[in-house]
Symmetry: C2
């Protein structure tokens, strides 16, 4: 009896670590969500120690929120979906981390996002935020598309849109391309009419700085600006191709998440937008399902 | 008499400092070129101290080549054209440098390239190497186009071409775009058939790493590869627009310099390629003309 009740009271923590923030949720199979916490950037590719700190901060905040004592961290089964760990080297480094959890089950943030979106069932997910990528799980087989990083990949993402907009305004200020409303809006944003002034402000900026410009592109496309429409259509065209490719794997559901998922919908191939369904659970819940599933497999193997 | 002979024997050093190397040439009006030296990267935007070191190394090598004693550096009138000093902040920092020359006359590398290309006379120049930009001087009025840096500008440059090729191969490996000879050549170059493998090798690489891929694009375009042709045509289209814009200022000559100047010629608008003439002197000689001109003006003002 004691063993069974202890098992029923198993505490899980789901961690979703991305380039700008880290979310943690504490969950018990009996009592549901007990608490949540938010930490800073947790992409180990862009700062390994920083990522571990963000994971621990979000963990501690979630534990406090759940009314747990900090030493109970040793009782938590952790599921973590982290950006960057598709690189085998980073996956191994995190695996070697002397973490405080009872056990740590690690996978990519894309994988846990997909598990969450479909509540652990098969499905496909497209993420369009600062970056862009696609993922599907069908009958245990996963497929990973895009997500090749700024500026060589991530087409249709916020950073890509911002970069295309900056390119367009620089050419227009040099008199080498048409000057439209988008160019004027960006000149106001940068408070300069000089191409070099804009180039200087954006030189060496990370993808997140370009992604902040995406809202101007989307707004001007709504208002009928030709250049903005061309950019949004090109980005949405890529996302539609990505979606078709994922649907070829026959996932029962397709979800889109990330800051650009909603504004991009109307620009997608109608066949695709008709297929898009809501994500049922957030990625951190996907990380909990992942840990539960891995733990059950492990216990099955031991039994 | 002594003053006049001293003036005739004035020693100049012309310095051309770019992102990958720094060239110096020592020149006397009476005896012509006395020696040359080559140093490392000298773009103060990408490393201020490094740029000053490269300038001094190329100077010392040129002095040794010219058979001068190192303490004679104080006798040299220096003209320097440096990348990055179009940014007022960097221009000021270099101006405040406690340099060893008798005098230092500073301008951009584009300006000295243009002066050199036309032996100090009016003209326009387009540089297509790792980056791309255009410059003209007509009746004392200068015009500066492009050169906004990787990846938001520098269209038609080697880095831009390489980036477009990487984008194309990544999309083709995801099955989202046609797979052509260019894709196969790049897979061989990166020794992987995996999109993530290529993305990983290029992640965070500087523009020079992308520029190294331009030769594959140009070679495959020559062989008729559709994707490579589309990239080269788009880049050459931009360079042609840049050239038309410079020619609108009525420069008597137009020169193209940089590693891509020759291979790009045949892809340009025929009106433009018909106008392209050789650069008469290299940028470091342009820097010498610049120093001579500035010195003459100064002496004219003093007289």
């Amino acid at each position: 009896m004691m063993a069974k009740s202890a098992k029923h009271d198993q505490l899980f923590i789901g961690i979703d670590g991305g380039g700008t923030k880290c979310r943690a949720t504490i969950y018990s199979a009996e009592r549901g969500v007990l608490g949540t916490g938010l930490g800073g950037p947790a992409n180990p590719l862009h700062g390994f120690e920083r990522a571990l700190e963000s994971i621990m901060l979000s963990t501690q905040l979630a534990m406090r929120d759940a009314g747990l004592k900090l030493e109970q961290v040793h009782e938590l089964y952790a599921g973590a979906g982290l950006a960057g760990v598709n690189l085998p080297q980073l996956f191994d480094r995190i695996t070697q981390w002397d973490h405080p959890f009872k056990q740590l089950f690690l996978t990519t943030d894309l994988h846990t996002a997909c598990i969450g979106a479909h509540e652990g069932k098969d499905g496909a997910v497209i993420i369009t935020g600062t970056g862009s990528c696609g993922f599907s799980i069908v009958s245990g087989k996963t497929c990973n598309l895009g997500g090749h990083g700024f500026a060589q990949g991530d087409k249709g993402s916020g950073a890509w849109m911002g970069l295309e907009a900056v390119k367009a305004v620089l050419e227009s200020l040099d008199g080498l391309a048409e000057k439209t409303a988008l160019s004027i809006v960006l000149q106001e944003h940068f408070q300069t009419k000089s191409a070099m002034g804009i180039a200087e402000q954006m030189a060496g900026q990370p993808s997140s700085a370009y992604a902040k410009l995406a809202r101007f592109v989307l707004a001007e496309a709504e208002r009928g600006d030709e250049v903005a429409i061309r950019i949004v259509q090109e980005g949405a065209g890529y996302i539609s191709r990505l979606a078709h490719k994922l649907l070829a794997n026959q996932p029962p559901r397709l979800a889109m998440i990330g800051g650009l998922a909603e504004p991009l919908q109307k620009w997608l191939d109608p066949q695709i937008s008709a297929r898009v369904e809501p994500a049922i659970q957030p990625p951190e819940m996907g990380a909990i399902y992942f840990a539960q599933h891995q733990l059950a497999q492990q216990q099955g193997e031991l039994a």
